[in-house]
Amino acid sequence: MKYLRNMSTLKYSMEKCAGCGRCVEVCPQGVFVMQGKRAAIADLDLCMECGACAKNCDFNAIAVNVGVGCASAVIRGMLTGGEPTCGCGDTPTGSSCC
């Protein structure tokens, strides 16, 4: 299943890639594939902005605006003016996240 088109904030600079393959290893959505000695983006619409790739790229080739794709978290963020965060573990009645 794919979510909305052209939404992901992921930016990838192939010229910085050293070909370690960590992004392919951590991405749970199959956004990256190895193309020869470098990683390439297979389908950006699959990206859910979890940030695992950027966190594990030792060469700063990947940047993404990390966030939770969770409506109640985003609404809470809008209401409190803060960044959207999951309510998990904070409020026992909480949202459906996690």
Binding site: L4, P28, N56, N65, S96
Partner: protein
């Protein structure tokens, strides 16, 4: 009266083992619990309760090092969260395997969400590796993390700070033995999240639950509106007039929190708001056709139903983005930016129509 006598006894109580532990073993880093690989009835009941309620908020195991089978210095180290369901999902897949399990303190949250929050994170892993004296326990430098932990853990930093090289294993614990047998290689299948009908189905109780907590407010408002008469609040009127709305309300919860999640890939459009709206609309339409619930005296109420309930279903369905494996924040923000004004509009129009209905009913105009 009989005199009660107390015999003083000194009860020497050893700390009882948790039901999921079968004993202890000594390691260079101290005594650690040996973990069972079979789930007991209590474990399964705990899983059911966690799926359905806030019980899961306190379903934890103590963080630290554990043993599975008869692990030696060469045995693998698997890392997991201290949410009991995550811990159970791992240990049941380690049957017949000798391994170490390192549990991080994620405050009782599963691996993926905890990684997103940073509790299943680089610092916590460094701390646990150090505290468990993992260097003395194993002779190698490999640790295996669940792939979804990658959101919180930087493998490069772990290697720099502890010397251990992180391998991100499969997403699902059930692929662990296949992963080991293939020489620690993942197939594409093992590294992608799936979101099957079953996966979605088990998540629906926690969609329905929070909405149903708000349902009494909706019911009270409906009964008040229909019961309100110039002569006061009439129970008979409240019940006969309000009942179709109460039923449609329940149907809407069912549409948004159950049907839409379960039928997710089969409902057209990628937007959750549109999916929820369509399913809500179809439900109201079918209810109107087959159950003649719309035997409402007034066309105004029929129109109100078609404006209000699909919008509510859409809003409820949008909440399911929090439980999915594939929705990103930018997309959800876009949906809400467009959706919220529409929801408020639908609510406003519905209220106006209800007021019009009441005015006609009372024969004011």
């Amino acid at each position: 009266m009989q005199k009660l006598t107390f015999i003083p006894t000194t009860v020497i109580k050893k700390k009882p083992l948790p039901a999921w532990a079968s004993g202890t073993i000594s390691t260079p880093a101290g005594v650690v619990l040996k973990v069972r690989t079979d789930l007991s009835r209590a474990d399964i009941w705990g899983m059911v309760k966690s799926r359905a309620s806030a019980f899961r908020m306190h379903y934890i195991v103590p963080p630290g090092l554990y043993a599975v089978g008869k692990p030696a210095k060469e045995s693998d180290v698997f890392v997991t969260a201290n949410y009991k369901m995550s811990f159970d999902a791992l240990r049941r897949e380690l049957k017949g395997i000798n391994a170490w399990v390192l549990v991080l303190d994620t405050k009782g949250i599963n691996v993926w969400c905890a990684a997103g929050k940073g509790t299943f994170g680089t610092d916590e892993l460094v701390k646990r590796i150090t505290e468990a004296n993992l260097k003395a326990v194993v002779s190698h430098h490999r640790i295996i993390l669940p792939q979804l932990g990658g959101v919180g853990v930087s493998a490069g930093t772990i290697q720099k700070k502890t010397g251990f090289r992180v391998s991100f294993g499969p997403v699902r614990a059930k692929d662990i033995s296949a992963y080991i047998n293939s020489g620690y290689k993942k197939t594409t299948e093992m590294s992608l999240t799936k979101f099957s009908v079953w996966d979605r189905l088990v998540l629906t109780p926690m969609e329905i639950n929070p909405v149903m907590k708000k349902y009494p407010w909706f019911a009270a408002a409906v009964l008040f509106i229909f019961g309100l008469q110039p002569s006061g609040i009439l129970f008979q009127q409240a019940w006969s007039g309000g009942l179709p709305f109460l039923v449609l309300g329940l149907l809407t919860v069912f549409s948004g929190a159950f049907l839409t999640p379960v039928l997710l890939p089969f409902v057209p459009f990628r937007s959750f708001a549109i999916k929820g709206w369509l399913v809500g609309l179809a439900s109201i339409f079918l209810a109107a056709q087959f159950f003649s619930l719309m035997n409402m005296q007034h066309k105004l109420l029929l129109v109100t139903s078609f404006i209000l309930f699909p919008a509510l279903s859409s809003y409820i369905a949008l909440q399911f983005t929090g439980a999915t494996t594939f929705t990103g924040m930018s997309g959800v923000k876009r949906e809400l930016k467009i959706g919220i004004p529409l929801y408020l509009g639908a609510l406003g129009i519905s209220l106006v129509l209800i007021v019009l209905f009441k005015i006609r009913e009372w024969g004011v105009v």
